[in-house]
Homo-oligomer: 235 residues x 2
Amino acid sequence: MEHTVTAFDQELRDLAGHVAEMGGIAERLVADSVAALARLDQFQAQRVVDADRRLDELQRRIEEEAVLLIARRQPMASDLREIVAALRISIDLERVGDLAKNIAKRVAAINGAGLHKSLWVGVEHLSDIVLEQMKAVLDAFTQRDDAAARAVRLRDTEIDALYTSIFRELLTYMMEDPRNISQCAHLLFCAKNLERIGDHATNIAETVHYALTGAPYGEERPKADLSAIETVTPA
Amino acid sequence: MEHTVTAFDQELRDLAGHVAEMGGIAERLVADSVAALARLDQFQAQRVVDADRRLDELQRRIEEEAVLLIARRQPMASDLREIVAALRISIDLERVGDLAKNIAKRVAAINGAGLHKSLWVGVEHLSDIVLEQMKAVLDAFTQRDDAAARAVRLRDTEIDALYTSIFRELLTYMMEDPRNISQCAHLLFCAKNLERIGDHATNIAETVHYALTGAPYGEERPKADLSAIETVTPA
């Protein structure tokens, strides 16, 4: 019996290890896609597109492990929550990879000419915060740190507010010069993708909180992305 | 023993029924969000935003049912695939609801003035196909019809091609008149959301195929969304 429990603990640790591995890859893809965008480096962008496939494979593997663990061990309460959490987090990480891939795909359609430096500063600042959130929430997961997860959840409003200001700025550039429109449209989607990666970090934070405490979801999270109702009028 | 098997069958049917219920709600939210957009009806848009919460609750409930079924029944092979499929589909449907909600939120920021009728025709055509895909894939799920699921999967290229042409058209309108830029940016996101709802229909089609045949994922699906590399130059 002692042996069985220990083997199960090891299986849980392996599952968490695979989620952490996936998290490391997802984080790197986001960082690389933003670096490719900042330098307009198409080779690096292509590497992001290729590497995303690995995340999809890992997600399927984690799903399989989680399902087999539930079926074989019939875990109760906190162990079950931990397995369900691993499954949920792997789904969020797979989406993060998709979003990074989509940023990378747009690098080819963007050239930096005509755009003011302040715009790039804004996008870079957004990506810095998003990457900090990704790192913080993955640490919270491996350290089982509920307070750290809560901090991630609260910081999402900062991302939303910054995204809304970038949205306005991009629209202003489009209005100033029609030659900016095409690349600004792609940058708009890049910024939106970063904002959504931030949402996935928040989802993961909520999952960590659920795994550690058993608290149900359902609290409304703070929301400051007002871009959906933003309009900008030409000067 | 007979009794146990029958009870399990009933539980599987209940789970599938809850997924079908979720599918019906998701489909209606998409239809309503597009109707709200077409008529610029903010009351209907608000109802979509409110109703999306129900999908989130149903998703959690399906997750809970699926996990308990796996733990209690330790199902093998095709039964296990069916439960995992229900879980995956519920996750896709929850995202479909989020995307419909996002379309609805943008209704307030869009006014129809200045936009050519052909653009609305394009967006409506896109939403028609997306809704047909949603309906077809939910029917394929309830009828366990692998051929129908395959047809959904193949038709996604049509959505991608149409989205790419709407993307170009929207950029052209932005270039023609800066007063169009703000609303066209929101329409751009609405069209993108519809295209992504189409992707979720394809995901569900792949999940139905997996549930019925046990085939692994991993085949590359056909891809014709070239919008990420599209650029449009002012006339």
